[in-house]
């Protein structure tokens, strides 16, 4: 059954290229079926335990290794569901936004490449998935037409540089150990100059692709230039792919000494991302750039959690890392759809066009505020859940005052940039009049993921349990 998760999007994308007319229907159909299958897979894996595959049945080492653990299944489910939601949004706004037909096959291929990435446990296959992901993302950004060509090209070049760095690391490891599957490499791993440099090179490439501070420079321009549904997909899903590989490398491959040595660097980069990303989000005059900078800041939480996980090796912190990713994906999809909807209807890219939006477009504004609540970490949202798990993990380690304090500061910053929008929206004295009467359905679609991120609280117990088990 699981094979259909990969075959369906691919077959749908190929058919869409032949008959562009039926593309939206095919995309929605494949995303819907995939969401259902992914849910089934998640239930199956959480009941029966992790599943392993050696593709084509060749002996280990020769074949590409796949692994479906609960984390992978959760991410596959998230990918399929967000794909479905964004597909619906694009379909609902197709008459107004005139999104190019190219969107549909590309979005299906995005789903395919991410699903392949979450499953793969082979360094070279991961590289191919990364390449695929980068090309899809760049093609999606360039859907905006001429104004997006420059950010798209920058994104492409930096992403290729990142891929090259990653590939160099893979080559070094293959030269040293003669194999590419992670399980096989772990059994022979020795901390020495070769593996150190390979890990560093791969991390450099992945950090560039995941837009982790200080290599985030390309992200705001690229994500802000893309059409709203594309920005939602890029911010929610695409940057998480390289992050996933980064976690695989440092949590599974690297030896304890290597991990300990790298921990402060990741934690520091995460903290810097939180502060600088938050500050830039406070300063930018454009609505979409604010959300994009907030992505940089929120990725800082994940980096910080990765650093702390490497340092303390505490399952709760690992769970916090992936809760951040899940909560951020849902919240950011809602933010981008809501902002896209508002700037489309109110007619302007600047933040000031959102003036009085709570009156003119209450639903979309509500979606943004609700999602923003999760970005800040207000209880009982998904963002709060993640932050709570992180703090709890830190409290279990004694004498840790610095990191909780830093988290509080970061929270205040994110509250500041979310309220910057909300305050403007409640300035009802002289609201910006909409260019046409606001559409209701797209606003509801923007609200859905925002509600979902608050609904994460209902599933907090099983989620924490599943993710904590994964860390062992």
């Amino acid at each position: 059954m699981m094979i259909l998760l990969l075959v369906l999007p691919l077959a749908a994308a190929l058919l869409m290229l032949l008959w562009p007319r039926i593309a939206p229907l095919l995309a929605l159909f494949s995303a819907a079926v995939c969401s259902f299958l992914a849910l089934q897979l998640l239930l199956q894996v959480s009941e029966q335990g992790t599943r392993y595959w050696l593709l084509a049945g060749w002996p280990s080492g020769l074949a590409i290794a796949w692994q479906a653990d609960t984390l992978s299944c959760l991410l596959i489910l998230l990918t399929a569901v967000l794909q479905l939601l964004v597909g619906f949004y694009a379909f609902a706004t197709r008459a107004r936004d005139k999104l190019s037909q190219g969107f549909w096959p590309l979005s299906s291929l995005l789903q395919l490449s991410l699903t392949a990435l979450w499953l793969s446990r082979d360094l070279f296959n991961l590289y191919v998935c990364l390449e695929l992901l980068a090309l899809v993302a760049v093609a999606l950004v360039s859907l905006s037409g001429r104004k997006a060509i420059k950010p798209a090209l920058n994104y492409l070049l930096l992403s290729l540089f990142g891929s090259l760095c990653y590939l160099l690391g893979v080559v070094l490891l293959y030269g040293a150990y003669g194999r590419l599957d992670i399980a096989g490499l772990v059994s022979q791993w020795q901390p020495n100059l070769l593996t150190n440099s390979a890990l560093l090179l791969m991390s450099l490439g992945l950090m560039l692709k995941a837009a982790l501070w200080p290599l985030h420079g390309w992200l705001p321009a690229a994500h802000a230039a893309a059409p709203a549904p594309v920005s939602a997909l890029l911010s929610a899903l695409v940057v998480k792919g390289p992050l996933f590989i980064l976690c695989l490398l440092w949590l599974q491959l690297a030896s304890t000494e290597q991990a300990q040595a790298m921990a402060p660097l990741f934690a520091g980069a995460g903290l810097a991302a939180l502060l600088f990303g938050g500050w830039s989000a406070l300063r930018t005059p454009f609505a979409k750039n604010l959300v994009a900078y907030s992505t940089v800041a929120q990725l800082g939480y994940a980096t910080l959690a990765l650093g702390l996980m490497l340092k303390f090796d505490q399952p709760l912190i690992f769970a916090a890392l992936w809760l951040f990713v899940l909560a951020h994906a849902l919240a950011k999809a809602a933010c981008f759809l809501a902002i896209g909807e508002m700037s489309g209807t109110l007619g302007g890219k600047r933040l000031t066009t959102l003036k009085g939006a709570s009156q003119t477009m209450p639903l979309a504004m509500f979606a943004f505020a609700v999602a923003g609540g999760s970005l800040i970490g207000l209880p009982p949202s998904g963002g709060f859940l993640a932050k709570w798990a992180l703090l709890q993990g830190l409290w279990l380690q004694e004498q840790q005052l610095f990191w909780p304090l830093a988290l509080v500061l970061a929270t205040l910053l994110s509250a500041a940039y979310v309220f910057r929008v909300v305050v403007l929206a409640f300035d009802r004295a002289d609201p910006v009049a909409p260019d046409f009467s606001p559409q209701v359905l797209p606003q509801w679609l923007a609200l859905l993921p925002a509600l979902a991120v608050w609904a994460m609280a209902l599933f907090s117990e099983p989620l924490l349990l599943l993710l904590r088990l994964e860390a062992l």
Binding site: I3, V7, L10, A11, L14, L17, L18, P20, R21, W53, L55, A56, G57, W58, P59, G61, L62, A63, I64, K98, L99, S100, Q101, G102, P105, L106, L109, L112, S113, A116, F124, N125, V128, C129, E131, L132, L135, V136, V138, A139, S142, L143, G145, R146, I149, A152, L168, L172, Y174, G175, A176, Y177, G178, R179, N192, L193, L194, S197
Partner: protein, 319 residues
């Protein structure tokens, strides 16, 4: 001794050409030097006993990439004067490259001299793979999932290009080059067919054959032949995705055929059919690669709905 001299000369030339290409002031010169660099690189791969890579490098690295660069240059129209970089701006990248280079050299010296366990494993399992050339066996049997995704990467490159492709520039072609390109075409088809067939037991295969076919098609297309070869033609689209379609169909068929087993294995070819499945995939992959690469080089804005909406938008924005 003479071979050593040849190798030293080759290395020196490679370095010189690379530097000349990077430092040359005119982009067209840089491209020509880069093509020469690609040809010598192909020779280098051949000297390193990697004939598969040599073929691919000659066809793609030296041939098609050069053509791609030239068509891109031709569409630039009048080039804006490239900004002159200051001394410091040139220095930092150079420093970065030098440091990385020495670091990598240091690391390469640390690599163990003996090969890893995989080549032996490949040779051991080769008999069951359906082909006798190890590279083809790895590409289309042992690690066929990678190859499937790589085919997709190629298709995606085309899709991305079509999004931003500029309107075509009409230029007249030279009569002599047109007749020469027509003479060349049958020869290229025969050569590509040979390369494809040879892939089963010696260097060659779908990528090389496809690249060669594409080179022939590009020459014809630049001489205003093959006017049907455009993305708006549904048959062209059909064959551009044929490689992937056949691949997926083969995978699904093989998967269903092995359904009698308790746990069907994804991507596994039945050993007695493996040879024919691989040949079938290779034939359609060759066609798909040829068409995709050709369209990449001569990319024209398609008149299909793929970009119609955007074109209208752009016109509205311009007007």
């Amino acid at each position: 001794m003479s071979l050593l001299l040849f190798d030293v000369l080759l290395c020196g030339l490679l370095l010189a050409l690379a530097l000349a290409s990077v430092l040359s002031r005119q982009l067209s010169h840089a491209v020509i030097l880069y093509i020469a660099f690609g040809l010598l690189m192909a020779l280098t791969w051949a000297r390193l006993a990697a004939p598969d890579l040599a073929l691919a490098e000659a066809a793609i690295g030296a041939g098609l990439t050069g053509a791609l660069c030239f068509t891109a240059l031709a569409r630039q129209g009048k080039l804006a004067a490239s900004p002159t970089l200051s001394w410091q701006q040139r220095c930092w990248p150079a420093l970065f490259v030098l440091v990385t280079l020495f670091g990598l050299l240091l690391l390469v010296l640390q690599l163990p001299a003996k090969p890893g366990p995989l080549p032996a494993l490949v040779m051991q399992q080769l008999a069951a793979s359906g082909v006798s050339h190890p590279v083809t066996a790895v590409l289309l049997n042992f690690r066929s999932w990678d190859t499937l995704l790589e085919l997709l990467v190629l298709l995606l490159a085309l899709l991305g290009t079509l999004q931003v492709a500029p309107a075509p520039v009409y230029q007249s072609s030279w009569v002599l080059s047109r007749s020469w390109s027509q003479l060349l075409a049958p020869l290229i088809i025969v050569l590509a067919g040979y390369l494809l067939w040879a892939g089963a037991h010696q260097p060659g295969g779908a990528f090389q054959a496809g690249a060669l076919l594409a080179a022939g098609a590009v020459v014809l297309k630049l001489n205003h032949q093959l006017n049907w070869l455009a993305w708006r033609n549904i048959w062209v689209r059909f064959f551009a995705i044929a490689g992937l379609t056949v691949f997926v169909a083969a995978v699904l068929t093989a998967w269903l055929l092995s359904g009698a087993l308790a746990e069907p294995v994804w991507l596994r070819w039945p050993p007695e059919l493996a040879k024919y499945i691989i040949l079938l995939i290779e034939i359609f992959a060759t066609l798909a690669i040829a068409i995709t690469l050709t369209l990449l080089v001569v990319a024209e804005q398609p008149a299909t709905p793929l970009s119609l909406a955007r074109q209208e938008d752009d016109e509205a924005a311009d007007g």
